[in-house]
Symmetry: C2
Subunit: 513 residues, 2 copies
């Protein structure tokens, strides 16, 4: 973006002013004017929906270690047999379609960063859940809270990321009992975008809600959505207490649950796209209806994470056409339920941010854009099937996704966009560089990458023949060095710290403060 | 593809047999079942079409140094004023819609390699026109005929490339007067896929036609299309003798002309997508109607190459959202004319096959697939804005595009695809790896990259921590070492060589044979 440019020229003061202006810049979440890709006919969707209902009716879902959920399902009209829950045909769809909102606002502590999740919008969040991090010079290593904080800062500094995400990487140097508190603390104080709940146990989801009340105020949280919690199925057709219990806590508090069947196709579902779509729909409908039985109207997002595998080695594979088709198909099924949809991300199996990483990433990310996904987790930083969060790939991905608002914005057919006068007043063979229309529009005419090199071969060699990774390495270091925390009320911050200290004392009574 | 795999295991004889089986494999050209992306409303398209007609009516095109074309346009109903040709509203569209075929077969000397160009098909051809080549070990250097031959062989060895292309790189070590003969000779004897005509001068297009007659027989060439010639406008609104003259030769001989306005947006057209689409349509309609005035029914492809630029430095930029939107929009306009469409390619400004190269490539290539482009030139090898043909990127691109047939094939809704029995007979929590449906389908279930690394981090390190470029380097060397020329009739080959020797003696009389 032109406002992010101009690193050369100007004095120190000018650069400083520019840097500050830049820090507070944020690209708005995307609003789509392009049509969505129609991968399935209405008849095709009806067949898959019918089969998903058959699956829910005949096989049902297994609810592991969570009797309370069985009672909720039973009260809602499902048939419970031991730990198995079977659903009368149409029950889940009816509950979801009638009760779940088609879109909702997730509030950030800086109101300018609040996002609307649902059609025709798209919101980007960073990658989630890696135990490792990697950078060019230090290679791959276990993630620490320092890395977590760095990625929180990089997210803040990336205008194309609308959302702070959740477990940006797993801070394995902190006790597992309390690290969720440290992560949420970082999300609150180091950036001001929306963020995600802890969900590894229902108690941690409750901690997330309680912390949010400190930040936003109790009444505000009761009336508004400020958290999204990611709840994955144990596919095929299983939901456990950690996930459904966290979903329950969030839904009770009117917070958003992101229901995602996480499927390695061939292992956790049959090897075909249509069957994977059927199973994803069934698993998601069961859990989404659970949230609506807990609290009608609580925001819920239907998610899908479906990737293929190598049938030779069992390794998950990314950027394959089957995964892209599954994404396109399941997105259409979610639209017919009337709920927001999550999928996609810049996913790859590559160990480094090389050509493989970029091809694979875009082979998921661009279909996600084409499908009109509403919430794109794993938009930036993902390497190695999600095991590693990469500093360089984070900024490379963030740079690329900064173009997507323009893509989904479609073609400008205004008088200025049509530019008929410019066309008619120009002689054949005469260039347009000096035309009045060009001079009026050139500054904002084109998206320009911050990290791509468009110079001549000779200039590129003179500049040191840098690779994408080299430029990305310089960029994330520059961002961290330029970082300044957004303002936060001192009283809120102190209350937050007190709350966390007290909670840690309860969770880890033997640990030194 | 599973048939391309299995490099490990088996004896030498088995590997050799497999290699040969592999050499003659060819993926069929793509047949689309997915819908095409609808970027413009019918009303939007009508506005742009109206403006293109206004441009042709009021400004018209300048025809440089080619009085014969002026006469042809005048006879066809255009208004000629000096070297300016203006078209009554609707004239070009009427001529093209009524006369130009909506699809056609381009014949290869191996009939199994012939391709159909038009909806719902897509054909991939390699990059075209680079003066330089690059590989990992020797870096960037001027291209030679040896490089040209190598890329001809690599094209033959790449099952996902359906078409041999044309100027795979410019053999600058050969005299410019005769190098087109050496290039066509390589296309004929080193592979057996369809290929392109020379178009740098009308005489060279005629040489291409005459050589084709030697290969295919005079009557066959009179009755069938065996050549495509790439004719670019001198935008804005100019056509010269080299291009229109070559188009005339090809059309007279019932060979295909690929009419492509080549536009750096902002310099050669106004800075907006809609205006660039308007101008592209006007320029292409003028030249396409020329081919139909020369010979009604001669095959013609409407092309678009529209890329953005850095308004700071003037450098062309690739993989931008504006270029993707222009591609999507112009593709819809071509569909309404009822002619096949060419655009796209794996385009990049990067100097090396790094992450930038791959992101930028797919930001053009995937929209091209999404739009349903019929002929995709520059599918493999392109670097540095087309100045360089890269050995490593060639095989990386070819590997990636081998998945695209599956992508556009859409979702299989057959009984086997729906797999309802597999879903209903599986218990919750039980994996599908041993299911009968999985065992029946696993070999062909998923596309697998030949060049991606999906192994664990530990295995990848043990294997030498190779990058995409390292694996690609090994791959193209292996392909060249495995290469064996497809059979060709000795008499045809001898006649071809005699013809070329005689023609060279005419074109370069002072040169030693």
């Amino acid at each position: 973006m032109s406002t992010r440019r101009g690193r050369r020229g100007g004095g120190r003061g000018a650069r400083r002013a520019e840097r500050l202006a830049r820090v507070i810049e944020q690209q708005p979440f995307l609003t789509r004017r392009l049509d969505q890709n129609q991968v399935l006919s209405a008849e095709g969707m009806e067949i898959i929906e019918h089969n998903a209902d058959t699956l829910l009716e005949q096989v049902g879902i297994e609810v592991v270690d969570f009797p309370e959920a069985l009672a909720i399902f039973s009260d809602g009209g499902a048939e419970v047999d031991g730990t198995r829950v079977r659903f009368p045909r149409g029950m889940c769809r009816e509950i979801i379609s009638r009760r779940a909102p088609s879109s909702f606002v997730q509030h950030a502590r800086n109101p300018q960063r609040s996002v609307t999740i649902g059609d025709p919008h798209t919101v980007f969040a960073p990658a989630y859940g890696s135990p490792f991090v990697r950078d060019r010079d230090e290679g791959r290593r276990y993630a620490t809270i320092e890395d977590f904080r760095n990625f929180t800062k990089l997210t803040y500094m990336s205008p194309a990321l609308h959302h702070g995400g959740g477990t940006l990487c797993e801070p394995v140097d902190l006790p597992i009992e309390t690290r969720h508190l440290d992560m949420i603390y970082s999300h609150v104080v180091l950036h001001d975008k929306p963020f995600m709940s802890s969900v590894t146990r229902p108690e941690r989801a409750q901690d997330s809600v309680d912390l949010a009340k400190v930040v936003f105020g109790e009444q505000f949280v009761a009336d508004n959505t400020v958290l999204i919690g990611l709840c994955n199925a144990n596919s095929p057709m299983q939901w456990d207490r950690a996930m459904l219990g966290s979903a329950q806590v969030l839904a009770e508090n009117n917070q958003c649950v992101l229901i995602t069947p996480f499927i390695i196709v061939g292992a956790m579902s049959p090897v075909t796209v249509a069957a994977t779509a059927t199973q994803t729909l069934a698993e998601a409908m069961a859990a989404m209806s659970f949230t609506q039985l807990v609290r009608p109207g609580a925001p819920v997002i239907m998610g899908s994470f479906a990737t293929t595998m190598s049938m030779q080695t069992g390794a998950p594979t990314f950027g394959t056409p089957e995964a892209a088709l599954a994404l396109l198909a399941i997105r259409r099924l979610a639209a017919r339920l009337g709920v927001p949809f999550r999928s996609g991300g810049n996913l790859t199996a590559s160990k480094i941010p090389d050509a493989q990483a970029a091809y694979e990433s875009f082979m998921t990310f661009l279909p996600a854009l084409s499908a009109g996904v509403n919430f794109v987790l794993h938009s930036a930083g993902w390497l190695e099937g999600g095991l590693t969060m990469s500093y360089e790939k984070f900024v490379l991905d963030a740079d690329q996704i900064s173009m997507m608002a323009r893509l989904v914005g479609g073609v400008d057919l205004s008088e200025n966009g049509l530019a008929l006068d410019a066309l008619l007043s120009n002689e054949p063979g005469q260039h347009f560089l000096g035309a009045e229309h060009t001079l009026t529009n050139f500054e904002s005419a084109f998206w320009v990458s911050d990290l791509g090199d468009n110079s001549s071969f000779e200039q590129w060699e003179l500049d040191g023949a840098l690779t994408s990774v080299d430029r990305a390495h310089a960029e994330w270091n520059r961002l961290l060095s330029d970082y300044e925390a957004p303002p936060i009320d001192d009283a809120v911050r102190a209350e937050l710290e007190d709350w966390i200290m007290a909670r840690k004392a309860t969770l880890l009574p033997d640990s030194p403060a």
